[in-house]
Symmetry: C2
Subunit: 362 residues, 2 copies
Amino acid sequence: METCFIVPMSAHDRLVKAAYEHRGYDAEEAAEAARCCAEAARHGIRTHNAIKAIHLDSALGSGSHGCVPRAMIEELPSRFSACRVWNANRKLGQSVAYRAMAAAIELADRHGVGVVSVDNAFHYLWGGGYVMDAARKGYIAYTNCTAGLAEVVPFGGRYPTLGTNPHSWGFPTVEAVGFPIVVDWATSVVAMGRVQQFRREGRPLPPMAAVDRSGNPTTDAEAAVSLLPFGGHKGYGLALINELVAAFIGGSLPTLRSRWAGDGEKHTPSFFFQVIHPGALAGGAFAGGRTQIENVKAVIADVLGHGNGGVLLPGQPEAEWAARSDAAGGLLFTAAEIAAFNEIAAGCGEAQWDPASLASAG
Amino acid sequence: METCFIVPMSAHDRLVKAAYEHRGYDAEEAAEAARCCAEAARHGIRTHNAIKAIHLDSALGSGSHGCVPRAMIEELPSRFSACRVWNANRKLGQSVAYRAMAAAIELADRHGVGVVSVDNAFHYLWGGGYVMDAARKGYIAYTNCTAGLAEVVPFGGRYPTLGTNPHSWGFPTVEAVGFPIVVDWATSVVAMGRVQQFRREGRPLPPMAAVDRSGNPTTDAEAAVSLLPFGGHKGYGLALINELVAAFIGGSLPTLRSRWAGDGEKHTPSFFFQVIHPGALAGGAFAGGRTQIENVKAVIADVLGHGNGGVLLPGQPEAEWAARSDAAGGLLFTAAEIAAFNEIAAGCGEAQWDPASLASAG
């Protein structure tokens, strides 16, 4: 592992809040943004930390037309008791996601299952973080969203008309295995950021991860312009699900997403959140007189048993990174990341972090 | 396409019902079994037609301990209004699945979303058929189940501790594209039946589809003993979801599933059904003044546009096969399949089908 500097959570949150407030967000939005970024960094999700979040806000958010600081969430009328539909009016995605998941939990407490659909959204960054949070509170949670840009070619096609459209599931398994099991990934083989990394490093891409300008699969990172879904038609189907759910909510054409123009079209992503109360699933007849969570623990032990000692649970690397962060007493960032934070600090008039004054972890 | 014989639906259903009644199932169960098999055959799902269903009933169902003819579904008490939990008491899977999906639709009509969880289940065969049916009725439907046997090695492991655990999603897109979009597949690269087919044909398996006795990946169909999930850790996560959902419902250890012993353990799969009323998702602000379904149609057209003419929608091959069946005026079966049906007929004292008297389609 690369040597990392240890940044106290309070210093991180102060800087991130300042950066968001500098961009016009209110204190609550800024705190929600900082919370999401801190949790991402704490769990080692380096692709969705504050550096990425603030870059995204510049590229597609308040720096573009995608996100509107201080926007108000509008609850739309619905005749359905276990579902709510929100018009986010392009409010900060992290704020909307935390609130939507909380609303879905309330619905699940009453109805067993709760769904919150969000129209006119802005990128919520790390879907895994919201389901992990709900899972820690004891719920089975799921979210999907349509990604900001159409970068993925459907299976059998040549032109990117799908987003990297992630799916995230979280399970309340803290009592069973010590952390929430979180299944969370994009439906492309790799992200575009990874293609850029391979390009910088002069390395070939994995096979069937990207296509060139003519729509032909390529492992040449320089020639790659669009992504392919993982698992052929299966990953394509999973990516299409997000576009369909979004289309039922109110999302428009994927190839127009985030590509703002005065065309009377909609350019926003959509979110879908769902929470299930585990009590609403329980048949109550667990083998060997086990409780529900003892049964979950026994099933997981069976999956990981029989010589499968090397198998990781989804969410385990994140839990291990969080333990490392907590032991270090702060968030772990590389020298390059510290430099990027210092650019953010310069941009909003905050004090820079002096690497010489930060402890480090190997 | 191989030449197929055309079997009138009525002849097919008469034989399948007789075969199930011969095994002790009541008339309603036999009709539900026939309906599922007929729909599978009509849509070209040759891996889940009546031949497979009856073979499964012999191997793991009423011929073993897995399925109990004339069993009664027991509704368990629940304080949650949008969720129901059933003890299927090992009733025929197809019967339980049709009824559970109907119950979930009722819940979705009232609450926007409805969930039916089923403990002590028996294999429902073709998950895609149930979501396709609900989608044709206008709903967004989802089901998963734990497969009958643990045949799949978790990513990074050596020993099979997961089922081929399928996921099936259906979307009400008949008005948009002429058929329901159905995303439906197992989480293994291939099914065990496919491995046997490659073995018979002396052909190598696709890479990373199976492992040998030592748990090492192999393309040698003769050496293959267990399957691998598709997409590495992503498919593993998807397979694990079914085990976790089942564990919360009441399913026990995957490696014990269908392996009956007087061990005080549970050996049954579990089912999870979910239906969403599309009205419960609608933000109502579709671009260009489109209706919800016009919006869905526009999004699909965008995905398939831009030179992506060769892209198929999930569910399209099934819809095309159904059109072929309907044009032929019956279900299409190969000579080998007709022979298998005639064995079934012999087993239950029904008249055999004479290929000479059946029309054929090329």
